[in-house]
Symmetry: C2
Subunit: 145 residues, 2 copies
DNA sequence: TTAAATTTTGAGACTCATTTGCATAAAACT
DNA sequence: AGTTTTATGCAAATGAGTCTCAAAATTTAA
């Protein structure tokens, strides 16, 4: 936690930006949330704790956290962008169920190697990547029709 | 072409839906377009040929083509969903440049195997998947600042 | 430490892709 | 042909995300 705050602070300073109260709150809640959350969910999460921050500020802070390497836009579901924080660098694959919306996370180390090879070949500098598969989860496959 | 039409027709019939004129036009243009297109671009493409179809109908037809296995929602760029048709099954990876928006497509057979292994392990039935990486393309890396 | 300058915030207006309601049109059925 | 059903187009509605701008917080200058 302290660690993330320091990273964010340093990042902000390097851009001549300030670690303000709302930004601190957002960072804290982002790291308290271990799901794939939407801005709206984060907004609610913050509001429940009576430490109000406007939606606009959250929207404005997301790219800062992403640039600071602390947050990732992980997937899009039902027309909403979803985010997840990044501790270290556990990259993963998401299986998203078309029917119940469940998100299964899978670590995938092999992937990184393949990607890096490709990036080298095409001289592309990867900032972030996402691998998502959609289909039916175990449970939903059983429910016929 | 005839092939795709047949697949679409069969799909529609199986759902008690009809292969109408607008649906035929949309299918034809989807397969004439070899890019990652937006609904709006498809709309324009159709309009240029004087065979008008409303945006609403295009929006309504996209999920049908997807369900029929002929279309794929390939990526999202600048707040717009982009689609691409599916011939056979060339799945691929997209490198999307953050700066110039260029999309580099890469075939990735190895990936499929890994994914299938994982799907089996988690009992997940994959309908489609996407692997997208964002960063800087060769050219944009040179432009410093 | 007060005053001026700068940055950030919150609230709500705005944008724009996508969805929806409804009246009309086309198609299938009788 | 007339009736029922489904599809279409238009225009209005929706809703996530962005932007504006006045007020608030923070920094800098004196």
């Amino acid at each position: 936690m302290e660690n993330e705050m320091k990273i964010f602070k340093d990042f902000l300073v390097s851009k001549s930006l300030k670690l303000t109260r709302p930004r601190k709150i957002i960072l804290r809640e982002v790291f308290q949330n271990h799901d794939h959350f939407t801005v709206d969910e984060l907004f609610e999460q913050i509001r429940e704790k009576h430490s109000n921050v406007s939606r606009a500020t959250i929207y404005r802070t997301m790219p800062l956290l992403i640039d600071a390497g602390l947050l990732k836009q992980s997937l899009r579901c039902e027309a909403k962008d979803r985010y997840e924080h990044i501790y270290g660098h556990e990259k993963h694959l998401h299986f998203i169920c078309d029917r119940c919306g469940k998100i299964i996370e899978i670590e995938l180390k092999q992937l990184e190697n393949i990607l890096n090879d490709m990036a080298k070949e095409y001289d592309f500098k990867i900032r972030e990547y996402n691998l998502g598969a959609r289909g039916l989860c175990k449970e939903c496959q059983k429910k016929t029709e």
